[in-house]
Amino acid sequence: MEPANSGALEALLKRGELVESTSEMTPDYLRELKHTLLFSGDTELISAPAYYLAARKAPSVNAFMTGIAIIQDELAHAHIAYHILEELGESQEDLIFKRDPKAFRYPYAFDVPLESWTELVVANAMYDQAGFCLLGDIHEHGSYGPWKRGLVKVMAEENFHLRNGRNWSKRISQAGGEAREELQRAVDWMFPLTVEWFGLPDNLKQHSTQLDYRLKGLTNDQLRQQWLSTVVPFMESIGIAVPAHQEGDGYVLDYPFPCTFDADEKRWDFKDPCSWDAVLKRWRERGPRNAEMVALFQESFAKFQVRA
């Protein structure tokens, strides 16, 4: 049976208006909204320990402070998503502190350790660019008012992270020698991880409830193309090779997509194409740093909890 306000919600979405309260939602819309918010909150939250573990390798105190400022931004972004979830009836405390590490929903890329300042700035240039594409889409097309407004701050700050990533990538590339080789190696393993960030290709994803509900406006492939159209020209402009090139209006990958990845070695095997089932299995099992990162923000919870 259709919920009572299903017709009203559909009409509201069709008019391009914003949903503002739970009384206007169908149970299905609410479930999809929460799912999308959780993915966003978890991604912002996990980026904090991922970036922190790399920021400790900063080449100067100034650079370290920039890293810490970015981490503080990411925590505030996570807060925005979790607080909206709280207003929708979830417990922020349970979501952050009481979930199993494997229950967190964020792109697999963050599970592969960022171990140097170079890898951190490449993450700023490529991972934050992916976040910028995904959240920019929700900011522009999203149907839930409170989130759309919350993203104004997020977009401004992601732009700053991106600038940090690009400035440093350029600087490291210009330094040449060993520094530049390290940059190239980071891009080699991180580029394909960000390409898969956008999920299944459109021809395998038959139907998107998120698109029906305007929880996003662009398809996986459209977002992936948007990301490629900014990252490929940038990397080429600083003399760093990427396995993709422009063809007509779009970008084409120079390797089989998807293919196998050795997380411990941080190495892709472009000669070994694999199925999306194999990729989904790798994502579900999570990667090397999942438990360590979740422990970084969960471990002191029990210790400092004040009991009523």
Partner: protein
Amino acid sequence: MGYTRVHAEVHEYDVFARKTRVEPLHQVGSVVAPDDDLAMAYARATYDEERWVEMMIVPKAAIISLWAPGGDS
């Protein structure tokens, strides 16, 4: 609404700010804290994306809503 946090009892505050004198205050977000002092600190640290000329926080409990989207009006 009951929030449980590391503290036994916390309150929600709405955060309002404006960038320039000519624009009106608008809601930039909210924070949840056990008291006004911590709420101010959280608001300052969380919503630092602009050089605001004015920022204020209001306990959500003090807001009286006349009507809202999705209501019966």
